[in-house]
């Protein structure tokens, strides 16, 4: 599948991607694994894979029931244990995916809630960010430190009242470098705003690049972080 190098902005809709995945025989586990790797390697929080997580949960639940049935009906222990292993692997993947997102939310809660990254969170994650993270942290800092500081230094967001912007909010470092792998040829790709740095991304290549410059490719699923 050669992707046109001219129009770099083409974005695959989620449905289309699922369809393609089905046609290529990619399982949801495979997709979840990709989401997990990308999420782990990317400095900022990525779009929540709502449909994928839902499907994975359904499959896990189904298999849990099947395993239970097997145990009751006295199916061979070997078979049961193999299914149990498959179940455990899927569970680990799903848990780790959700967990890495929670870690990012805890770290960048204020930044996320101020920017449109907020829309990348699931409903539950938004609730977690608001009530479990931001509110508690604000209250804690307020009570333990900020209320005792002189006037002008009491903001949780600013160093002092003279700061023009929120300079006390931890932000993900988008300038960081990431390892990425191409599945299909992406074509010549501009790395810098100035345009003097161009790499030709061919299929199955492995590069270390600045996350900021390939952000779009990660979001559209044309490149994988490893």
């Amino acid at each position: 599948m050669a992707s046109g190098s001219g129009s770099g902005s083409e974005r695959w809709s989620e449905d289309l991607e699922t369809e393609v995945a089905m046609a290529m025989g990619t399982t949801d586990v495979e997709l979840l694994k990709r989401a997990w790797r990308n999420e782990k390697a990317a400095p900022e929080i990525l779009q929540f894979e709502a449909a994928l997580v839902l499907r994975a949960r359904e499959q896990i639940q189904l298999l849990e029931e099947t395993v239970e049935e097997f145990t009751e009906n006295g199916v061979d222990d070997l078979v049961v244990s193999l299914y149990q292993m498959d179940l455990d692997r899927s569970l680990f993947l799903l848990r780790s995916y959700l967990r890495i997102r929670l870690q990012k939310i805890e770290k960048y809660m204020i930044h996320i809630s101020k920017t449109n990254l907020w829309n990348r969170l699931s409903e539950q994650e938004q609730r977690f960010a608001k009530s479990r993270c931001t509110d508690i942290m604000e209250k804690h800092l307020e009570q333990s430190v900020l209320s005792r500081l002189p006037y002008g230094y009491q903001s949780i967001l600013k160093q002092s009242i003279s700061s023009e912007e929120d300079d006390m909010v931890p932000e993900p470092q988008l300038d960081t470098f990431v390892f990425c792998k191409t599945k299909h040829a992406v074509g010549a790709f501009q790395l810098d705003d100035t345009g003097d740095e161009i790499v030709d991304l061919v299929a199955d290549d492995l590069y270390v690049l600045r996350y900021k410059s390939i952000r779009g490719l990660v979001e559209s699923g044309r490149i994988d972080l490893v």
């Binding site: 694994k33 078979v79 023009e164 470098f177 492995l206």
Partner: protein, 211 residues
Amino acid sequence: MAGQSNPDLSVFSAPEVEFLAEDEMVEIVPNIRMEALNMICGDFGPFFPQIASKVPLWLAVALKKRGKCTIRTPEWMSVERLTQVLEAERESSREFQPLPFHYVEISRLLFDHAHDDIPDLYMVRSLIEDIRDVRFHKVETGLETISGRTHAVKLKNLSAMEVNIVRPFMVRALQAFYRHDSPQMIQQPRTMGGSRPQAVDRGPRRDLRPR
């Protein structure tokens, strides 16, 4: 739970990389009859004695541990192929030879759990060790060439475990060079001391809260 890794620089822990490798497919020859397995990660089997079948590595290892199959050593793990790879690896000082992305983990798992199925075990093991050493030496010398103008590093054919090992060094080196090479940094040397944070300048930020 297998170690959740620190999300900062070492993105994956070694067990996590191994977890990923366990999904690679291998060929087994079962010695039992077993119905098809319809699993979340795919459908495998049905299995018949002495008839080869493809399954993920974790499944192969699980069956092997219970003495229900033999694992066929992958083609690339033959003495002949590995000798070729090692020679080629020694010849070119910059390029890496194509090997499976998870060759380190796959070979390790097979050595650990299926050593009796591997022909020329000792030879294969030492060849793979040599290949790893040569490749890693290349990565190390490659690190020396990083400079301020390095915007991209091409590491075609580098494997998963090698990526994981070199990641902290590579990322930190590139980041440091990038930061010191940025135009803001050169034009306005940072004034030390009690100067007020400049809000207008979005350049190199003062990291007040080192994380």
